[in-house]
């Protein structure tokens, strides 16, 4: 856990004092990622760098796991905090192995233990240890360097990590990949992370909580969904963007919204039986599945009225399917691309997992709003 109490930084300059952080109070629970978000010059980086004292605080307290860090000396404090910077900062005179082993060496780890740790971490980010340990930073691509920058910070397994726009210098495609990799690692590691970003999309994707900064002050500190659904003021609303509701689509997966009890039928089913299934479910469309339970087409109630024979005669092919793990943004994008009101979802094995429709998506987005409204009404009533 990281707790900041009235953390303040005043830079004294010839042109007068500049308040870079103004009584910042926040708490990041153990195992969560907190994104410090805001325009440049808002104090988010200053707040971050005060935690490992690269910038000495003017006043206020910083607690890590309940311990006041003012009682630790700078060097000891920093060796127990993972630190990743935007420029990556791999040391060009050292091999990848030496880079990863910097902090373990500073902590006087046994050489063999440090080497094993370096190899283990490289494997964790999908880089072949035998191939990369002996290489130098300049021999790696930007994305590979960034991965090494992250695992270097993890080398001594610190409980807390500070990341200053860690994926800012990579192209968008690689950034998405590295973000996903990192989230996967984090789901196992459960580090307590402070993460500076200026990208709202990154914040929504990576953050358990987001703190929006302006002029050294926290404007709002809440979960990404809460910030997008209920920005606390005009500034936050502007910062997260007019399309903030669309951004919330990324926070939900198809699985959470799809109807898994949607009516299904098979090609060899008689039309009459299929019609009965539909009327029992009060639905207008049934998904046709094959013998492996994979969705292959659909039939409509209208077309079956008065028809005879089997479903095969009336089935239409499906325009597309979406994986049930996909986020709603991908689902809606596919709906728009196919000009359809609904899509069939598939699980990891390609089997039918439900149907998701545009009204379902809208209802899901609305649900957070109404739920919150009810909660706040209840709060006011009590």
């Amino acid at each position: 856990m990281i707790r900041l109490e009235d953390l303040t930084k005043i830079f004294r300059t010839p042109n007068g004092d500049v308040v870079a952080a103004d009584r910042v109070n926040m708490e990041v629970p153990t195992g969560e990622i907190c994104i410090l978000l805001g325009p440049s010059g808002c104090g988010k980086t200053t707040a971050l760098k005060m935690i490992n004292r690269l910038i000495p605080p003017t006043s206020g307290k910083i607690y890590i796991d309940g311990k006041d860090t003012a009682t630790l000396d700078d060097i000891e404090l920093r060796r127990n905090i993972g630190y990743v910077i935007q420029q990556i900062g791999l040391f060009p005179n050292m091999t990848i192995e030496e880079n990863i082993c910097v902090v373990p060496r500073l902590l006087n780890w046994d050489a063999k233990k440090a080497r094993d740790r370096a190899a283990e971490l490289l494997d964790l980010v999908g880089l072949d240890a035998r191939q990369y340990l002996r290489r130098f930073p300049k021999e790696l691509s930007g994305g590979q360097q960034q991965r090494v920058g992250v695992i270097r910070a993890l080398a001594a397994d610190p409980p807390v990590m500070l990341m200053d726009e860690p994926f800012g210098a990579i192209d968008p495609i690689n950034r998405e990949i590295i973000q996903d990799e990192f989230l996967k690692m984090q789901s196992e590691m459960k580090k307590t992370i402070m993460f500076v970003s200026h990208d709202i999309d990154e914040a929504v994707k990576m953050g358990d909580k987001v703190a929006i900064f302006r002029a050294g002050k926290i404007e709002q500190y809440a979960s990404p969904d809460r910030i997008l659904a209920h920005p606390s003021n005009e500034f936050v609303a502007d910062f997260v963007g007019a399309d903030r509701t669309l951004k919330r689509l990324r926070l939900l997966t198809a699985e959470e919204v799809a109807r898994s009890d949607a009516p299904i039928t098979s090609r060899s089913t008689k039309i009459d039986d299929a019609r009965q299934v539909l009327s029992a479910a009060r639905a207008r469309i049934a998904v046709v599945i094959d013998s492996d339970h994979r969705p292959v087409g659909f039939v409509t109630a209208d077309e079956m009225t008065g028809a005879s024979g089997t479903v095969r005669d009336l089935a239409h092919p499906l325009p597309a399917t979406v994986p049930v793990r996909a986020d709603l943004r991908a689902v809606v994008s596919e709906m728009f691309a196919q000009d359809t009101m609904w899509l069939a979802c598939t699980d990891d094995q390609g089997r039918f997992a439900g149907v998701i429709s545009q009204p379902d998506v809208t209802a899901a987005l609305r649900a957070t709003y109404t739920r919150d409204r009810r909660a706040s009404e209840k709060l006011e009533a009590s």
Binding site: Y83, I85, Q87, G89, N93, A153
Partner: protein, 224 residues
């Protein structure tokens, strides 16, 4: 003085007859430069590192070092005679070494200072943020990265001062300058030209050898 083929033969026969003497003088020459530049590295590199802490001090030190270089070597030798006479060393090997030590400060201090200050601030921030002490940062990161530029300064100092050391013959320091001085005073082109060629060759060979050393000392990851 130089009139053609006959002279060339004379010079070659002079070298052939006196090669032991020439080698001895070359040895003296090398000893002056090596000792002086060696001490200059031992003083100049720490000074260059120390002045990175303050821009104002750095400007002052570099300015002083530049002024020293503008003093003609013959004048510097003259200045040192009364001072070093107090310890009975007014002429000879010691004033030559001291003069060259002073001349070497500028390239070595300046290159060290420039190389250390030019280390990418992001690397410095990463090193500090990971918990390196200032000394560890210097030893593991900044100096290794600065080595090629510091070595370039050492090369400049050596090549420049092989020429200066030739003039030190006039204050009795020995070295290949002896041949040049005698060649002038005795109007003997054989000695003069032999001395000049030997000094030039020494400078070229030293530069080449130091370039090799520079490449060896450059960390693998910094090589192009």
């Amino acid at each position: 003085m130089f009139r053609g083929e006959g002279e060339t033969v004379e010079i070659l026969s002079f070298i052939a007859n006196n090669w032991l003497v020439i080698l001895g003088l070359a040895g003296e020459h090398i000893s002056i430069v090596v000792v002086a530049v060696g001490f200059a590295v031992l003083t100049g590199v720490p000074i260059g590192i120390a002045i990175t802490q303050s821009k104002r001090v750095a400007d002052m030190v570099l300015y002083a070092a530049s002024i020293i270089v503008t003093i003609p070597s013959i004048a510097l030798f003259g200045l040192m005679i009364p001072i070093l006479s107090m310890i009975g060393q007014g002429i000879g090997w010691l004033p030559a070494v001291i003069a060259i030590l002073l001349y070497s400060q500028l390239p070595i201090v300046r290159n060290t200072y420039t190389a250390i200050t030019n280390v990418d601030p992001a690397l410095r921030e990463a090193a500090t943020g990971m918990g390196m002490t200032p000394f560890q940062r210097l030893a593991r990161l900044e100096i290794p990265i600065a080595i090629p530029v510091i070595m370039a300064g050492v090369r400049t100092a050596v090549v420049m001062n092989i020429g200066v050391a030739a003039i030190a013959a006039y204050i009795g320091a020995g070295g290949l300058g002896v041949l040049i001085a005698r060649g002038i005073s005795q109007t003997d082109p054989r000695q003069l030209i032999t001395g000049a060629i030997a000094v030039s060759l020494l400078a070229i060979v030293a530069d080449w050898a130091l370039l090799k050393l520079q490449k060896r000392l450059t960390p693998e990851g910094l090589k192009r």
